[in-house]
Subunit: 199 residues, 2 copies
Amino acid sequence: MSSQFEPIAAMAMELAKLPGIGPKTAQRLAYHLASQPQENVRALSVALWEGRKAIRFCETCGNYSTGDACPICADPTRHNGQICVVRDPRDVAALERMHEYHGLYHVLHGTLSPMEGVGPDDIHIRELLARLGTEEVNEVILATNPDVEGEATATYIARLLKPMNVKCTRIAHGVPVGGDLEYTDEVTLYKALEGRRDM
Amino acid sequence: MSSQFEPIAAMAMELAKLPGIGPKTAQRLAYHLASQPQENVRALSVALWEGRKAIRFCETCGNYSTGDACPICADPTRHNGQICVVRDPRDVAALERMHEYHGLYHVLHGTLSPMEGVGPDDIHIRELLARLGTEEVNEVILATNPDVEGEATATYIARLLKPMNVKCTRIAHGVPVGGDLEYTDEVTLYKALEGRRDM
């Protein structure tokens, strides 16, 4: 029947593409939506599509943005000479939840991973170097994840910045090795930021 | 940031309304969708809304349908004098996956539940009685869930049908008591159907 009744099968097929949603869960969600009032499903559908359409990237830092500049780059009080380098926008969100960092960000949109064929040109390293030429930067804080790719990326960037005479720090291993920045609590993130060391 | 960046917050808020999706999972899904190509999110959005719009109910049995009659009611070979009474359309789907039942269905869209204020007029019992007057019915198979509400509903309908001289059977307790029809495997469902007894 799931393969026979086209609309529910179509809903389940798309839902099953979401991470962590298997075919059984997708079908259950599809049946749930089928039993909901049309306007509720419309609200979900519109939120997803309108939300995705509204998402752009900040032209400076690569963070999510609704305009040319993200709210952080657009805020003059955040231009304090610090740039915090992270893997993706959700890491910006995690660090912002801490409320203890007052500088700017740079989103790499990935980490170096020779295994998966991700090299320096595939992530936004060139854009970071360009910012060092145009912005007044006193410190680059490398806040990539404390896993193999994150460490490798931090080491790579630190080596690039060495001849440019910019202070370059790495967040402390207050965050558990192998963990994920996104799920780290605010206190641990703050300790990690405080304990940063030259590299 | 999740509360700051409007489009992702809006996506997460709607996703969190789905059953089994908590706020953390909803945010993770929203971030995932934000990182997907626009056309993928559009495909999901369209599938959900178009799917929901296409879903109607069969005018005869109450099963999901895209037209006036569901594929089962529209199939003349299924009119064999048997009507299988279930709680909702996903139970029809579960029984159809068994490939062993060749009659018609009647979907109640609920079960009697005095605790939740669901009485006989709130579910499609009257429609079932009407069918017995117009269709040639030899047997009504009560396949509501083997839980308290399902048993009560089956007993109630059996009592109503008694004076109408229609054979009325209940699926056997091959399905585990307290279980859910939707998650029962095909073999158990077949045993349950085979072992049905008069009531």
